[in-house]
Symmetry: D2
Subunit: 378 residues, 4 copies
């Protein structure tokens, strides 16, 4: 009796980077086997890719609807158990909705939907389905991110009073300054990219990281975007003032024109007793700051680490694990949930994270467009 979970893939074919990330992550802990897929809208390319990565072609389908239809005909013990959605953003919602309605578990790339309204509909569908829904906010899979969450929960920082998170990239910089070139970038086309670029694509990761690590909820936001050019309609840079509770404040900084930054997701959390600093590009180093003691640098795989953190470490200290391993930790948590095994809160981002993320993005846009006003989250 094979123990691997039967995984279906939607999107992620060819040279897709997100495809590589999900596929590798699904392999890492020996929990999943790809049995079915629509890798590509073009059926022939989908088949070719299946052959390339040695997935049997008999359950490669011509499109998503066919896949659902055919899989439903199979007996439950052969049927795909969980589908991983790696398609363009606007397809996340209809695919996830139909999958949940048909009783499939879902692993979904972020942003979960394109609007808050869709997110709420999906939330309701999920509630009815009784299945597992996992949103791949990849960065929550890093051991030291989990360590922050567990240590904060255990009171290591005391009452938190300030959070400062940022996600800076520079990649739009080389394509935005020429008026002809910038017309051709799909990320800068509101029809393709949705209501927000820097906040929707990356700022929301910083938002999620704050709520994941601190356990606090962001109540309201005030946002200022920068579009850089009059003829550019998408935010490529923005700062969000946030309020989390009485006298708990902070900010989210997000940019795609932070020249030379690669993938600089960082967080600083300050509490009455101590503080944390973490940087995604050196993910195995967690800095704990204190007003009275020496700075501490925590690393993964040690006996001093939390259970949740250790669950995401495969090798002894000093063997750097990276982004694939972080995503693999989320797949591992998903596997436990799908199999009905016990798992810890925090092993993967949930439907609620998806809803809140869409709420955040819409709130920042409304704040900026309203003239930099405070907008409450629901």
């Amino acid at each position: 009796m094979p123990k691997k979970i039967r995984l279906g893939i939607l999107g992620g074919g060819g040279d897709s980077l997100i495809g590589v990330l999900h596929r590798v992550a699904s392999h890492i802990n020996d929990n999943y086997q790809i049995v079915s897929a629509v890798f590509n809208p073009d059926f022939e390319q989908s088949l070719a890719f299946a052959r390339q990565i040695d997935v049997p072609t008999n359950r490669i389908y011509k499109d998503f609807d066919t896949m659902v239809e055919e899989e439903m005909k199979l007996p439950p013990e052969q049927r795909v158990q969980v589908c991983s959605i790696q398609t363009p953003n606007f397809l996340h919602f209809p695919m996830a909705k139909k999958l949940l309605d048909n009783g499939f578990h879902v692993i979904c790339e972020k942003p979960m939907t394109t609007t808050l309204q869709e997110a709420k509909i999906l939330q309701e569908a999920h509630r009815k389905s009784g299945t597992v829904f996992v949103l791949t906010h990849t960065y929550t899979g890093y051991p030291m991110v989990r360590e922050m969450r567990e240590m904060i929960k255990a009171g290591a920082l005391g009452k938190i009073h300030k959070v400062d998170a940022s996600y800076y990239q520079g990649w739009i910089n080389p394509v935005i300054h020429d008026p002809e070139v910038r017309k051709t970038v799909w990320r800068l086309d509101p029809k393709k990219a949705g209501i927000s670029s820097c906040m929707g694509d990356i700022g929301v990761h910083a938002f999620n990281l704050i709520e994941y690590t601190t356990g606090l909820k962001i109540n309201s936001v005030l946002c200022d975007f920068n579009y850089l050019y009059d003829d550019n309609q998408m935010d490529v840079d923005g700062t969000v003032l946030i309020r989390m509770g009485k006298h708990i404040k902070g900010l989210i900084r997000s940019s795609q024109v932070a020249t030379g930054e690669e993938n600089a997701l960082t967080i600083n959390i300050y509490g009455e007793k101590a503080g944390f600093r973490w940087e995604q590009e050196n993910p195995n180093f967690l800095y704990m700051t204190s007003d009275t003691e020496a700075l501490k640098v925590l690393k993964p795989g040690h006996s001093y680490n939390s259970k949740l953190s250790l669950a995401g470490t495969k090798l002894p200290p000093g063997h750097p694990e990276g982004i694939f391993d972080s995503m693999a930790n989320i797949y591992l948590g998903a596997a436990r949930a799908i199999r009905g095994e016990e798992y810890n809160d925090g092993e993967f981002p949930t439907m609620l994270d998806g809803v809140r993320g869409m709420n955040f993005i819409e709130a920042t846009v409304n704040s900026h467009k309203g003239g930099n006003i405070w907008v409450d989250l629901e």
Copy 2:
């Protein structure tokens, strides 16, 4: 014929840290000799301190007014040439005003005054006096801060579109959480500390650093403060959204409750072609970021450095110079100006920096108190 400049000191006696900083800086390049002082409001202590640091006691005066009166009686070639004001903030204005009116050069600690109005009066007095006025924004004396200024001027970053500066400290954290203790902290008493704590004391350094390095002027601000407790009247944390020109935006982050931070003044500047990152606690490392080339780390004392930067480096590469040397560079520039020698723009902060600083502080307070509205700077 002695060549050293005759220096008078106001304040800075006993264990005063700012006194140590100024005194050491004045010695470093062999340019100044302390000939006169009011180190302390208590005359006996002033005399004792003079003896302790081996300054002749014949021109130690019982108070500031006496000092001005007596020095004016001396022939110009014996009279104090420049006074360094290191007193509590509220005395900066009256002292500087009287000194300028009597034709003395002035080196003044920041904040220059306690209100923008005073700053403007001082500006006018300075204009009339024809003397040298130096505001000790110490951090502008660091070689790599100067390097940023010169490289930006030379076009190394291209057009700048974003600036993100922060000044985070944690020292108020240990004294603010107890309601009894926080009543006793003079920094939290508006009568003693002025209209702003975190923005007035440290945020204004970040403001000055932005204008010094980029050559841009900050036009308007939107500010949100955190007071942490209902009975605390002073901002101990705040974020300022800034606008510098069309499509040029950024932010200033300032905190005195950033737990475990020591003196974390940092700046990130992003331009079309490249970016800069600099951190005061590692002041000899300047990071230059690019979307297409390897990150560069520039250090002082190299042949590739600018003239202005090299003027502030005394030893070969790899010999870390620190905060005393930074302040000494400002004293060096002041000496050149006082002697009527040629000096470079950027060798010391000027009256205009002082006026703008007060303008900034008042604008942030008005923004926050106005409900997080945009406030223009003059």
Copy 3:
């Protein structure tokens, strides 16, 4: 027709860390499928582990000899193509020898053998076999290690005159200081651990890294070990002076009692024109030093990277890949070689690296035991 390479596994079952590393690495680029194994000397445990990771049990064998015998009976198109040896060190030689003699490709953990003599026998067997032999010096799979190799080959450093490599760990420290405890550590038992502990287990990685990156050969060594206690027979710390060519010198530092060090493999290479510094615990940062220009920090995934480096990067800049990905790059190179596809020199360590490694280890032991004398490598 499945394209995946049929992989056999020897060892690596249960909680084996090296097993996880190899298994994950073999999955990452979709090139291998485990079809056969002896995971554990205990047949039942071997079967149980196969079920756990969902490998069909029909080709799980009771021991290595049976595996070879049975696999040889299978038609070539079903037979295991390559075996990955992850057993205790003393088994590497007999297993690899028999596999090569029977025409299997081999992926082998280091040290390749336990003596130089065995290594030479294996080298001869490999020469006769015409198969692919890959030694898993994992660290050569890191993109920035490859970048050093390619840039040095292209002349970026000019003539090299000094190399300083170290591999410092601290893990023996907690178990060596108690006389009773240290008797029980198998790494400190010459019968189980071979002729050298720190040099054989980790110093040889530093040795390999030097030869891999510089293209130079180490000609002779002078070594001093530290055993820490009179009743300890294994080196737990040692320094090796090395000579590589006329006026080209350097050193290898290796320790298992470098308190608090985790897995600190580092290398500094100095040439006439520039230098390199790389640290395994931050593997995505390569520092290029110069006497006349700013320090450069190179990272993976950029257009300025070499072809060999880019072949080992799966995601865009700023997405940190780690040790699993490094090993996966070696498996990727092995896959190309096994399939007869074109591959670059440097994609995986070879038989020659294995022979030289054993030569190095024996030479250091002979140098130390001879009274810290120079010993030539062959």
Copy 4:
């Protein structure tokens, strides 16, 4: 009654960097006044430099012997109390000898002498003189170096078993590769530079740092130099294996051709309980490593610092003090000793450090020239 110590200067005139360092350091704590000097062998230049830095010219002498003769004629309360020797190395010995013989206190640049024999003669002269002798191993003045010493003394590391110190520079690299140019470098001329270049000039600092921080004595050395070219007679690179006690080993690495290194003096100390890492180019950060606890980063100016460390910190945490401040700390200790005040062991390097330094340098040369043999220190 002036309290400043009457300081005489030998050498250090004009653009001399060592002159700047000593002069600034002597000023920093308001303890010294320059009253007499031979800044330059050329009397006119000496006078001109005195005028430039505003030292009265009446006690600027034409040469050293005249200076001693004339100062001895002055009444003790006017006479120079301490002389700071900043001349070329070969003059250190005769000057220091004569000064000690005439009852002057001495502050002397390193290396103390040019041979061990001279060092011993000086040691005897010092013993007879009853005066204060201070050797300016500048780096021992850094607060975090002192912190290591005090924490080790207090047992923080447990028994030490390994030390690894290095001093890497690259500055000879640009001048050594051209056969014509290298003939002209005085550092490469044995007549001018003494018996060793890299070990005598910088390796000895690493040696001193080991003995200063650990309290251990280095008993014997085995050394290998690199001259790079057959026609170069001076070591520009070398590695020294060291033995400090039974089972206590380590190494000193020194280079002037470590391309792109600026002034990379570093030390790693490993003990049974914990380890230290410190780097001169980031002197305010001290790393404490442990096998079981998080890495700690200690900084100066904190309540957790030792008394000796705090005595060398003038400003609050986060205000980086640098090399001038380090030297100033040594001058401060010297002032206490000269005034007969109480001072702590470790406030300045002593005659004994000078003797041991010469012993070390000679031993390394003898080891290398003897064919990399072990040479005992006395």
